[in-house]
Symmetry: C2
Subunit: 197 residues, 2 copies
Amino acid sequence: MVEPLSLEQLIAEFSGLPGIGNKTARRLAYHLLSRPKEQSVRFSESLLRAVNRVKPCKECFAFTEEETCFICKMRSDSKTICVVEKSSDILPFEKSSVYQGLYFVLGGVLSPLDGVGPDALHIPLLIQRIKTGDVQEVILALGSSPEAESTALLIDRLLEQTPVKRSRLARGIPMGSDLEFVDEITMLRAFEGRVLF
Amino acid sequence: MVEPLSLEQLIAEFSGLPGIGNKTARRLAYHLLSRPKEQSVRFSESLLRAVNRVKPCKECFAFTEEETCFICKMRSDSKTICVVEKSSDILPFEKSSVYQGLYFVLGGVLSPLDGVGPDALHIPLLIQRIKTGDVQEVILALGSSPEAESTALLIDRLLEQTPVKRSRLARGIPMGSDLEFVDEITMLRAFEGRVLF
């Protein structure tokens, strides 16, 4: 009982976050109790406000405070949908401003061992939207784990009978990376996908 | 405006924590909004509860939910005070169970450049308590930065006229560390303080 109970509980809450070990959790909790009280109250309120306000967009399931997210509203004319696993995957596209179309957040990837089948994700809704809407291209941007790959394959297969163009992101050497440290699979993909000058 | 405002604010709050960069802050905020809502509400409440309940012990300034902390209550007979910089420094002593005495949290170390003089810390209270109480030994456990060293020196000097025994923790090679990677100052201290078999 060296530490007060409420402090112990706060440390436990921090330990439950991804990538936060016990020592970091303790450091953060002590920090929050050491700084001026109003700052930490504001932190707590900020979390509660975000939890209460942020919800999935009814069109694309990206995080939003409205019924329909900013992108779905602004780009409702777009005929391209980029399918991502989670809401935070949208940011890198928007940062590079390479893409001006719509998104669709699947909410995960297939994981039979964890009981995540197609119906646990938003796959049926995605297929329905593509089949009934005016979609011309679907970009499957789902990561490179085996689960993500099989999710992309499933969606590709479900759309086989439609005229919709399906694509996925190129695999290859990331910018700024040293060839010496590139893993085998990435090298294989980069070699297979090599581009003529 | 890709991210909802409340989410952006939550990310900013996380970025303000020590050791949490922008990417980690974003990852944690998205995680808190992706898991079941009641879990994140509980996190927020847990923080607010700790902030509202935890306060400095009126004897030693360690974090506690009571007026007087557990250690001050249980060991009120002890005649030894271990002086630490912050409340979280108490845990390693208690874990090793090497020490069964009282603590005193200074609340920082002297830092003239930041305007932290003796009166901004609890040094006057510490001196008063030692001079008026029944204290036999003061262990200055204040870290090894120049600021911490000069804080320890000041306290040592203020107690010079008293019969109280003053000591500080031994400096040396930490357990399990490879000699090859020991820094010069640690090596100097370990050599100077070498112990006869």
